[in-house]
Amino acid sequence: MKESNEELVGLLEKMLVIREFETTVQKHFAEGEIPGFVHLYLGEEAVGVGACSALKEEDYITSTHRGHGHLLARGGDIKKTMAEIFGKATGYNKGKGGSMHIADVSLGILGANGIVGAGLPIAAGSGISAQILGKESVTICFFGDGASNRGTFHEAINLASVWNLPVVFVCENNMYGISMPQYRADGRKGQNIKDVSDRAVAYGISGVTVDGNDVMAVREAVIEAVKKARANGGPSLVECKTYRWRGHFEGDPTVYRPDEELEQWKKKDPIDRFVKVLKDQEILDDEGYKELRDKVKGQIDEALQFVQDSPEPDVSEITTDVYYGGAE
């Protein structure tokens, strides 16, 4: 697939939005302005952006506890996203979901999920709907290396395989499930295989591992998998190796990993790398990049202002939406 320059810069812009958004959330969380806990997507931007760029409007995604990036990559409104994280009435979920449940369902986002691995069966179900309703929609299921050890991983991928469901299982292998390394030669580890994608063979589906800090590599692999799913070729597993720059949650002291490891991964910053590619191809120059960053910064500032101007939810909302009240 040959992307237009505009499309390529669009991918960079989305990654910049996520970077700036998460950096801002980090700051305001540290200042005690955000309740609960937040799991930031810093360092993993290329996965969400690359994968979502392979989708059409009628497609779906399931997200995770680390879901801000997925929502923004899918085209979520920055203001409503920020407002939800601050618990405001104007947030996507009316302040009832917060960081871990943030979603724009109208964009085909079937919830962000606070239960690790819960999205996999839900994604399979979305695939069933495509078959029942005769739709050509494809569902991307984002999950982490930690989730790949859960029973939901096994049951959902097995079901997707035997029923040939149009689902692309995108594993964001950020190397750690909280403090547990996904794999290493010695010591504690979550699994005894280097690549999560090795598991695909057990389900009779294709599995690949790509550089999750290379937005074009993610995009190409997921485009392939989506194309196959849409053509009734069944599910695939795409593992994207990446690294979370922050702890599992904000406040995690990350005592379980060496500082040098983080420094090594920061050298593989998905944004710096893609900027270099665009500059080398003369698609973007220094001035253009600065303009882009200023534009994104402006959007985040607007979102913060929106939060400032937004009301808290009314306490009468506590018992609404327990059951469905109909479309608004």
Partner: protein, 324 residues
């Protein structure tokens, strides 16, 4: 009207709804060519094909979890968990996913799915295939909980559940599957969720019962009538939402309340009804509320133990006699 068994009435409800709405589909273990572990899905696969009557692997977590995902994306799954005792395998999908999705998304998403759950003891199936689990799910905001006691209600309630916009936990007592009764034949025969029914009018004592206990209570009521005790039997039919007004009115009339349930007593839904009446209707009561439940023990295997364990018409009648 047509004479049908409870199982046939359930199948008819599914068939009618599948004919009416092409987004309705059935899935579960052995629901296809095998016809369902208790024969409830029967020949549906011949009528609708394997796409809409989906035989799953043994995979309760994925059955419920994928039903949630399908329901969120425009389908109306009617999923079956073969035995209530298997609910634990899919509990996250029930109480964290199906139940909370609407709320967590601020009402953006909703989950119009039905989970059919055969439950109850009486066939020597022992502890993991016999228990009553309705209290596990009535406790969870966001779920609706239904429990039909006869074939007509089975049909009308299942159709209502399939048309409902929220996740419905639909309990079916295994002993009831072969019970036969008159079932309305109309396609639009619906028993709305949240409306109880007075199965027998009476003036001396109120028995609230669901599922199999309705038959037991009615049998007890016949015995007691001969002794001059006029029993009112109320079947709420849905536990969530609960027709508490109907129960309260009856208690106001009779002044006495007995709740019959095969559940183990502690933390049961019977306890919830007792609490509701104690909270809002204490002054209607002439004496303490009684609960006739199973003891707080797993369901035993031996027929002797199992029969002694279960509530029955005699135990209900004896408990009522103690109130006079």
């Amino acid at each position: 009207m047509k004479k049908l068994s409870y199982a046939e009435a359930l199948r008819l409800a599914m068939e009618e709804e599948m004919n009416r709405d092409s987004s309705v589909f059935v899935m579960g273990e052995d629901v296809g060519v095998f016809g369902g572990c208790f024969g409830v899905t029967g020949d549906l696969v011949e009528k609708f094909g394997e796409d809409r009557v989906r035989d799953t692997p043994i995979t309760e977590t994925a059955i419920v979890g994928s039903a949630v995902g399908a329901a969120m994306t425009g389908s109306r799954p009617v999923a079956e968990i073969m035995f209530a005792g298997f609910l634990g395998v899919a509990m996250d999908e029930i109480f964290n996913q199906a139940a909370k999705m609407c709320y967590m998304t601020g009402g953006q998403a909703h989950v119009p799915m039905v989970l059919r759950i055969p439950d109850g003891a009486g066939i020597g199936a022992a502890a993991q295939h016999s228990e009553r689990t309705e209290a596990w799910v009535t406790h969870v905001p966001g779920l609706k909980v239904v429990y039909p006691s006869n074939p007509a209600d089975a049909k009308g309630l299942l159709k209502a559940a399939i048309r409902d916009e929220d996740p419905v936990m639909f309990f079916e007592h295994k002993i009831l599957y072969n019970h036969v009764g008159d079932v309305p034949e109309e396609d639009d025969y619906i028993v709305p969720l949240g409306k109880g029914e007075i199965k027998r009018e009476g003036s001396d004592v109120t028995i609230v019962a669901t599922g199999i206990e309705v038959s037991h209570a009615l049998e007890a009521a016949e015995q007691l009538a001969e002794e001059g005790i006029d029993v009112e039997v109320i079947d709420p039919r849905t536990l969530v939402p609960l027709d508490i007004d109907m129960i309260m009115k009856s208690v106001e009339k009779t002044g006495k309340l007995l709740i019959a349930s095969e559940e183990t007593k502690r933390g049961s839904f019977a306890s919830e009804i007792a609490a509701e009446v104690a909270e809002e209707g204490l002054f209607y009561l002439e004496q303490p509320i009684k609960r006739v439940c199973a003891p707080d023990a797993p369901v035993p295997f031996s027929s002797v133990l199992e029969q002694a364990y279960l509530p029955n018409p005699k135990k209900i009648a004896d408990a009522v006699r103690e109130m006079f």
